[in-house]
Amino acid sequence: MLKVELKRKLLDFSLNVAFSVDGETLGILGPSGSGKTMTLLCIAGLIRPDSGFIQLNDRVLLDSSHKINLPSKARNVGLVFQNFALFPHLSARENIAYGIQNRSRQEVNQRVQVLIEKMGLDGLQQRYPHQLSAGQQQRVALARALAPEPEILLLDEPFSALDSLTKEQLEMQILDLRQFYKGNIILVTHDLAEAYRLSSRIAVYESGGIIQCDNKAKLIASPANLTVAKITGFRNLLPGTINDVTDSHISIVVPELGILKAVRYKHSRLSSGMSVTIGISPEYVKITDHPGENTVHGSLSRIVEEIRGYRCFFQLNSAQSTFYQLDAIISKSDKSIIPTLGSNVYLHLPPEYLVVITH
């Protein structure tokens, strides 16, 4: 259990966040310069915030109102840096043992051996960091951070320096880590997919604040605002006004396109007349040949071939000058349903996948 409240003001940036982690993996997602790493460094005690409160399990690490500020060495927090920050003059084994020097020699040997096995580093004990691959370096960094049995593990963009194959393997390693490390984990990243795979909850950062912190499925299903929607990958955003709210559905008037219906999940604050943005992920846009409910008309303007599908951009036919574009992802096996460039088709937007974003 970790509780964090931090305030820190710099010349052109201010951090003001509050969140908690309860034995789970929390992903901190946001663009660079949004204060993600600063948050980790504050928790680790390497940066002192102007004011704040940090409680880790039953210990208060920082409480500015009571002038408590434990130094880094007393916090029992494991931190893995983006560039791993291994000790270049120590072997892999010595790196891992660094944090447990105060234990007996036998205990150290035992603990190091356990970690070397768990991290798949057998045979590399005597190598120096420069003799290890990036993936191996990271496993050493993880083992080193885990050796003192920290109550929380902080991972600062742990995969950004790696190629995609190594990255995939190490993600598995972190998922496997959960089998023997039961503490809290905070993972800082700017990659949504990575945060989604590895964490159970995600906090979205923007310029020093948290704009949404939710269960990952909920974050994707109902982004709190447009910024979150853009970060979580909604490309098809249409402006509209709510004209009716029922128990099960919400109808939204989109200028010049007509009425679209969305399934109502847990939107308690919605009411008629609110202006909203509706969004739908490209993979849920369906191409059909007949008009109907929740269906718009448009022409195919461009096709981009991706690794696992085709991305089709449709320009919607609106009566006047408003320019709407929708894109749909068609899997390679469905190639035959892709119309020819420039042809007019109907696009069905299933109500269950339409997401209503309030402003």
Binding site: L46, P71, S72, A85, F87, G99, R144, A147
Partner: protein, 244 residues
């Protein structure tokens, strides 16, 4: 023969003691200043480097004023009925003062090149500041520290002007090699002068060469000068090897 050897013996004693003193003080000052962020930083920094740019005679004169009968240190020492002026410790003091900026600057440069994340990693692993210094910062900055020490050694060995001001020329007591050479030439004793010159040449060349051969066959990570010969850092550009 013995009076020929006396300056060598005095110089060696002086240089060794002065190098040990500057080694410790230089590292302490470098550590302090590489982390100090107060407003006085430029002033303190300049004060530490000052002896390097002042004429040695000015430093010697300053020390003489400070340690003479009417100076603060001189008055304090006279309470114990001692004085350092024109005594052997004066040669050590001047050599240390003149060599200190070299140790301080080189070591500080090396400390500032150490990736701060690596020191921070040690802190999160429970290391005290003291342990961070001796187990991470110093080993990683070692080539710079060694380079600073060599420079100190060389500078102390060659110290002349300030030494003459504070320690004078008392044969067998304060006459170091450079002072002896100067007075030997004044007295027309070319044999003694050449003899001492060759000794100094040998010592200086041998110590530099020995250290250049002492390449540590140890790790070299991206861009860090860990594997470099201690003398390499003297030529290395300050910032170009900064990893990030």
């Amino acid at each position: 023969m013995n009076e020929y050897l006396a300056p060598l013996w005095i110089s060696l004693k002086t240089v060794l003691v002065a190098t040990v003193i500057t080694f410790v003080l230089g590292i302490a000052a470098a550590r302090w200043m590489s982390r100090y962020t107060g407003k006085l930083k430029p002033l303190i920094d300049s004060a530490f480097i000052l002896p390097l740019v002042l004429p040695p005679t000015v430093v010697g004169f300053g020390l003489l004023l400070l340690m003479g009968k009417h100076g603060w240190v001189g008055k304090f020492l006279s309470l114990f009925n001692t004085t350092v002026v024109f005594s052997w410790p004066a040669t050590v003091i001047t050599a240390a003062v003149m060599a200190f900026p070299l140790m301080y600057m080189t070591t500080r440069g090396a400390f500032e090149q150490v990736d701060k994340n690596i020191e921070d990693a040690a802190r999160t692993l429970g290391a005290s500041e003291w342990r961070v210094l001796y187990s991470v910062t110093l080993p990683m900055a070692w080539p710079g520290v060694v380079a600073g020490t060599i420079l100190c050694f060389a500078r102390s060995l060659g110290e002349f002007g300030a030494t003459l001001m504070l320690a004078g020329n008392i044969p067998g007591k304060t006459t170091t090699i450079p002072v002896a050479i100067y007075f030997a030439i004044q007295d027309g004793d070319m044999k003694q002068a050449v003899y001492l010159m060759v000794i100094v040449l040998c010592i200086a060349f041998a110590s530099l060469a020995a250290l250049a051969f002492l390449k540590k066959p140890k790790p070299r990570t991206r861009g860090l000068l860990v594997n470099a010969a201690p003398t390499d850092i003297l030529y290395a550009g300050r910032k170009k090897d900064n990893p990030s």
